[in-house]
């Protein structure tokens, strides 16, 4: 176990050093990522400027959703790159055979494949927006709300990590990388930037019961913002909801192990 963790950090530090060989590109990438992902915030700002508010929601409340989902997704993307590119770069090429030869956990090796440094761009813009939102909230921000926020962030990271593991797992069967998973990752981020309550009911149900992003990036943020749920969920439920993210992650990991057992090489 300890050995696994050591290995993981070693892999990550190698990845960082190799990316620092292209320092100019890293700087460009990070700035570019900050701007491209931060643009959505400009969109929200412009819409609020034009329309005043969004039903019962005010700007600072909405940007708490925005900030949380963005910093969580940035961290997931940074650390789950191996799973993200898995289908195209490892299964299709037969490269995964080499990973299997190593006497270590495949999940750890793939998780340590690459640490994408430039995701810092999305993380920073999300953080700036989140802090600004929290400052301008009407309700006071206590230690308790800080911890609730933290559980929401951890839950969201685990949820997105789970989606990326599932995406990688699917490619054991399809050989290709499944771009369709983008609907759940990027689409999930896009969706969760606004409070779930504004969407159509079927759509909301899908993102609560099938793909539980509402459980990690909507319900637990309501006590942080300090307003009752327009959908009528209880506070207890809202506090417990991020656990669903953890369960989703564990389920994906189990699926991954099944997938590894199924794996047939494409190699020559």
């Amino acid at each position: 176990m300890i050995n696994g963790i050591q290995l993981y950090f070693r892999l990550l530090s190698t990845s960082i050093r190799s990316q620092m060989q292209y320092r100019g590109s890293f700087v460009f990438l990070t700035i570019g990522h900050f701007l491209t992902t931060g643009i959505e915030a400009l969109g929200i700002l412009a819409l609020f400027d034009r329309f005043g508010n969004l039903n019962e929601w005010e700007l600072p409340q909405v940007v708490v959703f925005y900030g949380t989902v963005n910093i969580s997704f940035a961290l997931t993307e940074a650390f789950a790159r191996g799973f993200d590119i898995f289908g195209g770069s490892l299964v299709k090429t037969g490269e995964f055979d080499r990973v299997l030869l190593r006497p270590r956990s495949t999940a750890v090796l793939i998780a340590g494949w690459e640490l994408q440094m430039h995701r810092l761009g999305r993380f920073l813009q999300g953080l700036v927006v989140l802090v600004l939102g929290l400052i301008h909230l009407d309700s006071t921000f206590s230690i308790l709300s800080f911890f609730t926020l933290l559980t929401a962030i951890i839950g969201t990271i685990l949820f997105f990590y789970g989606v990326l593991i599932l995406q990688a797992t699917m490619s054991f069967w399809t050989i290709e990388s499944l771009e369709i998973a983008n609907v759940l990752t990027y689409g999930g981020v896009e969706t969760a930037q606004y409070p779930m309550a504004i969407y159509k009911e079927d759509f909301r149900r899908f993102f609560t019961y099938v793909i539980p992003i509402a459980c990690v990036a909507y319900f637990p943020l309501l006590p942080v913002i300090g307003i009752p749920d327009p959908l009528g969920s209880s506070r207890t439920f809202q506090h417990l909801a991020p656990l669903v993210g953890g369960l989703f992650f564990l389920a994906s990991l189990t699926a991954w192990q099944l997938g590894v057992r199924y794996y047939k090489s494409t190699g020559t």
Binding site: F26, T36, I39, R50, L54, N182, G187, E190, I198
Partner: protein, 282 residues
């Protein structure tokens, strides 16, 4: 026919073949297109739900009506491939492997050669996604009871023709921005950084994030003059009638004006770039 015209005809033929081959190759990626269509439909739906929520409680009429926004959003999704937000991975590979040296050896104009390839790269995948996307947005949506989200055909034939003229400029403009990204690689070798910077500019200033008329009024004078507007805002608003037919000609001229300026300046850039190139590998 003079020798010069023969040579000219011959070279045009070459660029046409480069375009056609790349175009046909790219038409093979059908599975990717299906994934793309589903993503775009999903995206369009989220955007419309958000917009609908804002519009439902608007007290002052915004400068663009909800039906016009619906057309704006759907056209943006089905024509997404035309946005110059990424560039040909094949060109990226050329720089990384050093194979760009072979490109420079060819007795052809590098700019024209790459322009032909990029034209195929921009149009072929878009064409693949356009049809199923349109079927969904125009025909399927009313069938499932969501008429208010349907992409309606343009008002009359004149509008349609003006829209198509505007789209010609859009395609050219998109190719010029794409080739600018490729040209930047002569300096940076690795293309992703510049591409992501371009991506940011394109997405916000074309109107993809939110329709440009919804931005605050004090920003409008600036938004009005920047070239990225020609990528989405102008054609989509001509389509929906938000830009009236009598203004449309001026707007299309504006688009072609930017095409001319950018074509000329990227061409000059390329002639400098040739001398800057670093060939990787040995």
């Amino acid at each position: 026919m003079s020798l010069k015209t023969v040579a000219f005809k011959h070279s045009v033929q070459i660029y046409w073949v480069v375009f056609a081959v790349r175009f046909k190759t790219l038409l093979q990626y059908r599975a990717a297109a299906i994934a793309g269509v589903i993503t775009q439909i999903f995206w369009g739906s989220i955007k419309l739900m958000i917009m609908a929520a804002f519009y439902a409680q608007a007290t002052v009429a915004p400068p663009i009506t909800f039906p016009e926004v619906v057309a704006y959003v759907w056209l943006g999704q089905v024509l997404l491939g035309l946005l110059p937000w990424n560039h040909d991975p094949e060109l990226d590979q050329l720089f990384r492997t050093g194979a760009v040296a072979y490109e420079l050896l060819r007795p052809l104009d590098l700019y024209m050669l790459w322009f032909a390839r990029i034209l195929a790269f921009r149009t072929a995948p878009t064409l693949l996604r356009l049809v199923p996307g349109l079927i969904f947005a125009m025909l399927l949506l009313p069938l499932i009871g969501l008429e208010e989200w349907q992409l309606k055909p343009p008002e009359d034939v004149v509008t349609l023709v003006l829209f198509l003229c505007s789209m010609v400029a859009t395609v050219l403009l998109s190719c010029v921005f794409t080739i600018l990204m490729a040209g930047a690689m002569f300096w940076t070798i690795e293309g992703r950084g510049v591409a992501s910077l371009m991506n940011g500019l394109v997405v916000v200033f074309s109107g993809m994030v939110i329709p440009l008329p919804l931005f605050p009024s004090w920003l409008q004078p600036f938004l009005q003059w920047q070239p990225f507007r020609g990528l989405c805002d102008i054609p989509y608003r001509i389509y929906s009638g938000n830009i009236a037919t009598d203004q449309a000609v001026a707007e299309i001229t504006f688009q072609f004006g930017w095409v001319a300026i950018l074509l000329a300046s990227t061409y000059v850039l390329f002639s400098f770039a040739r001398q800057k190139v670093v060939v990787q590998g040995g």
